[in-house]
Symmetry: C2
Subunit: 227 residues, 2 copies
DNA sequence: CGGTGTCTTGAACACAGTCAATCGGAGTGG
DNA sequence: CCACTCCGATTGACTGTGTTCAAGACACCG
């Protein structure tokens, strides 16, 4: 019954994604910028809050999340970076948050110094970076609205729709992150995320094949989110 | 008893403030940029979500907030702009959110088009704008952490500390915004904000002179926020 | 086929929300 | 100067959503 839609379940292929990490085509082709391909294991830290920001990263395949941890263990995920997204850029010389691979991930790593110098010299690059930062800013404001004024079910619905939009292909998609990661992104507990998904399924807003393969039904989904 | 500290209550003088709107000294002195001084009344809309973004603004005196409204009336305030802060810049040609004066406010208004063209030509200006956007981004991440993983009392305490930091002078400061504005910034209700302030006062973390004049006691405040 | 980690479900609880009454302060007019 | 009004802030009682704690189901991998 679960796969009764007649639509196959394709594995999530790596590919370009538009989103909060923001693909920056001209950015990576700036002259003199030499990147290295690096692999990160599941749950491997890429950089930690407070460390010196030496590199800039671009996801090739897999998924990364940026997060902040409180002393008592509470954690807030700021963003998920999917293939094509760039992350690791900040205003100061130190990272203000941590980044970790949520699954086996391949990324290009660029040294930050030449990068910044290129931006300082090349007005066009700086302008592109400015626009990219403004877009990320708008994503952050959407996130704030989600956390401040949306119910648990609305948050989960919006999250799933966002991941679907950023995934290639239509129909079925895969959630690379765990319920804990989703909960920490949405300011909820894993139990509440689980219950919300169950409720969305019961209301016909989605289909599940295991915990991580999802297909959304946008008509019912819109209904849940108040048209 | 309220003013038993022996410290006078000075009115909040207008002055430069560091914060999320981010003061950008070089930005406003770019050649060919002519601004106009404009006054906005209390609760007057400065621009609305979806409108064409024609201008960029800098607060001279008073206070402005940026916010998003949902169809059912729920509202989320993204940021408060205090004297010195610049606002109205976005990635696209349309405003993604609304802005409103929270009290009688004076602001400089600059046309956006020449502004953007200056940024496109002048690499240094674009670089400055990029850095400013990155700083705002970090403010947004702090806001997300606040909404996602902090209790009501912690949110209010953090908010008051933030406003104190951005106000000139030490000791007493004034909250220019109403409880509704604070609640909509913190993702709470006005009742919960009110109760949190009362509790902070009871625990010795602050002193009040009316609803809007506050003085924080950082030692007790740190204790409330879990050291 | 067992073991482990993740996810789901259930029941009791707590924190923040809702509804409603009261208080307080600023502004207005007699 | 005082009384009145209005709007915002505070407080109280109750409700509801999401959390906590605990048990069980499921999937992945040896």
């Amino acid at each position: 019954m679960i796969a009764a839609t007649g639509v196959a379940l394709p594995p999530l292929p790596p590919g370009p994604a538009e989103g909060c990490g923001e693909a920056l085509p001209p950015l990576m082709s700036a002259p003199g910028l030499i990147g290295t391909r690096v692999l990160f294991g599941r749950r491997q830290e890429i950089f930690g809050a407070g460390e010196e920001a030496r590199s800039v990263y671009r996801v090739i395949s897999g998924a990364v999340h940026g997060f902040t941890s409180l002393a008592d263990g509470r954690r807030q995920v700021n963003a998920f970076h999917l293939p094509g997204d760039v992350f690791g850029l900040g205003a100061g010389p130190l990272h203000s948050h941590s980044a970790e691979a949520v699954v086996e991930t391949a990324a290009m790593v660029y040294p930050r110094r030449p990068f910044e110098e290129a931006a300082r010299r090349d007005g066009h690059l700086a302008y592109t970076l400015w626009l990219a930062a403004l877009r990320q800013l708008e994503h952050g404001q959407d996130h704030v609205l989600l956390l401040g004024r949306r119910s648990a079910v609305e948050r989960v619905a919006a999250f799933l729709a966002q991941i679907e939009r950023r995934s290639v292909g239509s129909g079925w998609f895969v959630l690379p992150m765990t319920r804990r990661d989703i909960a920490d992104y949405l300011g909820l507990t894993i139990e509440t995320v689980s219950r919300a998904v169950t409720r969305l399924e019961a209301e016909g807003a989605l289909l599940r094949a295991g915990a991580k393969r999802i297909r959304l039904c946008h008509a019912a989904l819109r209904h849940v989110m108040g048209d």
